[in-house]
């Protein structure tokens, strides 16, 4: 077996040193009646690298990958071009095969990256500080809600109707067990987010208002207005960013009054990966830092007085505080944070702005073309790189029919909001720098065919 270096001679020599006759003597504490006497039946035996690659290759080929078709999906996971150097660098063994940096003298590489990452996230979000990452955007969103409860000592949470429904579900699942009260809603089918409806739901018991920016339908609302309304009632504003590329163009949530900003960092450096691993981003005001979940990297000096980095404020964390910790999180998304940080360093602020403008430009081009397809209506008054269109019939069916024509045409609102009749005809269309003019034309013409009933 290619991954097991011990030889038969090694094994006997070592057993002799230990002073036992056979390997099973070392498993003597496992009660004999449950000990397996050989390999589990019905499972295949070991296989060569070539055989495994063949098996996995066969499974891979049974998918239609985004690069093989005109592709317009988003809704919390975005396809962007990742520079080749990103994947090369994250595969350096010193990064890939390191552990959480508990021994800082031999982990300054990881630690400096985390310090740079935290700074990048804070600057992108417009927050004072950021942590070293969470699992993903949805779990970061729940952690922000829990943190707001600790800060305000209140337990009623108002979720915008235009928060990603998976995020809403995640928060509601956890709240069932923590007894937090969650006030959620469905997105309103209108060109601009319904701030007045949202603000009307904030009361004196509200710990936090959670708003996605841009929202699930791609609309960019007035965040400052919600922040002011939340603060007037003593509540915090949690802004959720599922598409960080947008922040190359639109104002940072922290600059618009958000107290905690969380997000999904997958867009920058990580890739689609069928939903994971992704990268939870988490930033907040300095005064709340001791209520933050997750790891934090801080600057210090070593015995020779040289600038160094180390995990810090760990008295918030489970390995020190146990049941009194701010979160149970241990492993986070370290390698994805590295990928994000490298990609962001390659872009820089100027590159991010240009990338955002290209995304927006292509999205406008797509919206203009789709508006010409009979029976298709663009919903949004504004958008960044994602917008909703209303179709004359159930968008779930349309998406499947488009896929049959080798076009990955978007995410149906019926998939995201099952059973909600008024949303069933909605389709979310997402456009990035990877979308070509040919792709746009392919989508428009496939949609024309499907909607006119002319598709094969």
């Amino acid at each position: 077996m290619r991954y097991l270096p011990l030889t038969a001679d090694d094994r006997s020599e070592m057993l002799a040193k230990i002073g036992v006759g056979a390997i099973d003597d070392l498993f003597a504490d496992v009660p004999a009646e449950v000990r397996l006497d050989g390999p589990i039946r019905d499972l295949p035996m070991h296989a060569s690298e070539m055989a495994v690659e063949r098996h996995m290759g066969r499974l891979s080929s049974q998918n239609l990958s985004a690069g093989e078709a005109p592709f317009f999906l988003g809704a919390g996971a975005y396809r962007h071009h990742i520079p080749a150097s990103v994947d090369h660098l994250i595969q350096r063994g010193e990064f890939l095969t390191a552990y959480t940096p508990y021994q800082p003298e031999i982990a300054q590489g990881t630690l400096q990256v985390l310090f740079e990452f935290q700074t990048q996230v804070a600057r992108l979000f417009g927050t004072d500080v950021a942590n070293a990452s969470m699992y993903d955007g949805s779990t970061a969103c729940w952690e922000a809600v829990a943190m707001a409860g600790r800060i305000t000592k209140r337990n009623r949470v108002v979720l915008s109707g235009a928060l990603h429904p998976h995020y809403t579900s995640t928060v509601k699942t956890m709240a069932k067990f923590t007894r937090d009260l969650i006030a959620d809603a469905l997105p309103t089918i209108q060109g601009t987010p319904d701030n007045s409806g949202l603000i009307a739901r904030i009361d004196d018991e509200t710990s936090a208002v959670v708003v996605q920016y841009p929202d699930i339908l791609g609309r960019v609302g007035n965040l400052q207005e919600v922040a002011d309304a939340a603060h007037a009632k003593g509540a915090l504003l949690i802004a959720v960013v599922t598409e960080p590329v947008a922040l190359g163009l639109i104002e940072a949530p922290g600059a618009l009054g958000a107290d905690i900003v969380v997000g999904e960092g997958q867009s920058i450096g990580v890739g689609l990966n069928f939903g994971g691993p992704y990268l939870g981003l988490f930033g907040c005001r300095q005064k709340y830092v001791r209520q933050m979940p997750g790891r934090l990297c801080g600057e210090t000096v070593d015995a020779d007085g040289r600038r160094s980095f180390v995990l810090t404020l760990s008295t918030r964390e489970q390995h020190i505080r146990r049941e009194k910790a701010t979160s149970n999180i241990c492993t986070n998304s370290g390698l994805c944070a590295l990928a994000f940080s490298i990609h962001m360093t390659l872009l820089g602020g100027g590159g991010l702005n240009k990338l955002a403008r290209v995304n927006h430009s292509r999205a406008r081009q797509t919206a203009q073309r789709l508006a010409k397809v009979p029976d298709v209506t663009i919903l949004n008054d504004n958008f960044f790189n994602e917008f909703a269109v209303m179709l004359p019939r159930d968008a779930r069916d349309v998406v499947r029919e488009l896929a049959d024509m080798n076009v990955l045409g978007g995410v149906s609102l019926g998939r995201l909001y099952p059973g909600e009749e008024q949303l069933a005809n909605g389709l979310l269309v997402t456009v990035t720098e990877t979308t070509t003019a040919d792709d746009i034309e392919a989508l428009a013409s496939a949609l024309e065919q499907v909607l006119s009933g002319e598709a094969a």
């Binding site: 496992v30 035996m45 499974l59 031999i106 310090f115 104002e251 069928f274 070593d302 492993t331 370290g334």
Partner: protein, 529 residues
């Protein structure tokens, strides 16, 4: 010829004494390279990506939302960026460089085939919300991995969505709470041994339970009689790590499970150490109701400097109906479905006799696909026979270490018999003023990553050494030789250990300063804003 040397002159020897006393101009020391922060290197006008010119202006209806200024993020051209991260990487230790014997963390070799398959476009470049007809292979990976995990653990079902071990713990405890509450049986307490990972009590508390400790026996295991005495109608369940964090198999786990079940509770097993028993014994045969499996431990997905992980949770028949959405289901026609909120009821009829009562969604989308592909490639590579060998070799390596060092370091449970995959020592017997930390830092100078230190909490100055099965006998012998030497120095009171490490990019760090005046982001007066 030359005149006899009466001057006392000697040829120059290349010792430290002849190195220049003053620091170098660059700050670098040969291959020991210093690296500035990106904020000191780049500016927001530098860029390492060529981006097309946008053809359309910003739409007028967005004009009120635009950034006032460019985000203050420094950029670097590609050569500079590659150099920055490569230089930083050289300040890190990784398994690729040598043994990384962190107990309970399971730092084993990360096969490169797994990296290759995870990057196949059918897995890496697929969107989580694509129509299921276009992702049958990706769903096939999840379904096949689930099958292996169920078979290897002897359980009934598996929740694949948890994102890491602690998230898996949460999943298991939420299943337990849901099952109890479905029967109108609200309970308040979870019992957790003192030796448990910190995530266990944190998870139970996060799920709304009060945590109480279970005492241990002198031989390092859960005290069955004390546990039985505490069980009652208020106890929802127990969380037990097996093999436990002292590296010992909980011989009484079946009896514990029976007692807990008789009292109406459930048994959660922390599967962090499953690598020690994979293919040798199935947790399902020990009465376990739920157990997470760290794919980044037992099944070799890389730790990546702190993640990502993946924590599927195997579940008993009693708990499986409460598992999270979404899940995969293969129907008789060979089609693999992703069961989400929309079709949960229909599949409940077909697969759970109408009893599926999921507690809901724990995260967006359907789990850590990138870890699933790697874990499946690892499992397929080893097969049923190789996985059994994994358990045997890691246990063999750990016992070899235990018996090779018990004469210089106190091994609190060595007399009780063999250990499993990790060997535990204490700092009793070191010279006055010397502790586990000194040994760890001494090991760094020896060129090794230290073992886990000060965990578990039940042993004074704990040193938990887990070599894993991917360490050769030579590698383990070198580790033992260094540990023996450093331990002997600590026993003898060698003061130089207090200053270790000496040969690293940084010496011991001032962690108190970091916590007292936290500097968590880079700040510079001259930053562009």
């Amino acid at each position: 010829m030359s005149a006899p040397n009466k001057s006392g002159w000697k040829p120059e020897m290349h010792t430290g004494g002849n190195a220049p006393a003053s620091p170098t101009v660059s700050g670098d020391r040969g291959l020991m390279l210093e690296e500035k922060l990106i904020f000191e290197l780049g500016s927001s006008s530098n860029c390492g990506v060529d981006i097309d010119e946008p053809e359309y202006d910003v739409m007028p209806s967005l004009s009120g939302n635009l950034r006032m200024t460019t985000a203050p993020l420094p950029g670097l051209a590609e050569p500079e960026a590659v150099r920055h991260y490569t230089r930083l990487s050289r300040q890190n230790y990784g398994i690729d460089l040598g043994p990384f014997p962190l107990g309970s963390c399971t730092m084993k070799h990360n096969p490169r085939l797994n990296e290759k398959v995870a990057r196949m476009p059918g897995f890496a470049d697929v969107h989580p919300l694509q129509p299921v007809q276009t992702v049958q292979g990706a769903l096939g990976v999840i379904n096949e991995l689930a099958h292996w995990l169920i078979e290897l653990t002897g359980m009934y079902g598996v929740a694949m969505t948890p994102k890491a071990g602690a998230h898996g713990e949460l999943c298991g405890v939420l299943c337990i709470r849901s099952a109890l509450e479905a029967n109108g049986d609200a309970r308040e307490v979870f019992l957790v041994p003192e030796s448990a990972h910190g995530t266990n009590p944190a998870t139970a508390a996060f799920a709304g339970y009060r945590v109480e400790n279970i005492p241990a026996t002198p031989d390092g295991r859960v005290d069955l009689e004390a546990l039985k005495a505490r069980l009652g109608p208020d106890v929802a369940g127990v969380m037990i790590t097996n093999p436990n964090t002292c590296g010992l198999f909980e011989r009484d786990l079946k009896a514990i499970s029976d007692a807990v079940h008789a009292a109406g509770g459930y048994v959660y097993c922390d599967g962090a150490n499953f690598n020690a028993i994979v293919g040798k014994v199935r947790p399902g045969d020990l009465g376990v109701d739920a157990m997470h499996i760290n794919l980044h431990k037992t099944f070799s997905t890389p730790h990546g400097g702190g993640g990502p992980g993946s924590g599927p949770v195997v579940l008993s028949e009693a708990l499986a109906p409460y598992g999270p959405l979404p899940y995969t289901a293969r129907t008789k026609d060979g089609v693999i479905h992703l069961v989400e909120e929309a079709d949960a009821d229909a599949f409940s009829e077909e697969h759970f006799d109408g009893k599926m009562r999921s507690f809901g969604r724990m995260a967006a989308f359907q789990g850590q696909m990138g870890m699933f592909t790697r874990a499946l490639a690892y499992i397929r590579s080893h097969g049923a026979d190789g996985l059994r060998q994994v358990a045997e070799d890691c246990v063999l390596n750990a016992n070899y270490i235990l018996r090779s060092l018990e004469d210089v370091l106190e091994a609190p449970y060595a007399d009780a018999g063999p250990c499993m995959h990790e060997a535990l020592f204490s700092d009793n017997g070191l010279a006055e003023g010397f502790s586990t930390l000194d040994i760890a830092k001494g090991m760094i100078d020896e060129g090794f990553h230290p073992m886990t230190i000060y965990f578990p909490l039940v042993v004074h100055g704990a040193m938990l050494i887990e070599p894993t099965e991917t360490e050769s006998k030579d590698g383990t012998d070198r580790l033992i030789a260094s540990l023996r030497s450093v331990a002997q120095r600590a026993v003898a009171g060698d003061e130089s250990l207090h200053g270790a490490p000496y040969f690293t990019p940084r010496r011991r760090l001032d962690e108190t300063l970091a916590a007292r005046k936290p500097i968590l982001v880079y700040k510079d007066e001259t930053d562009e804003t």
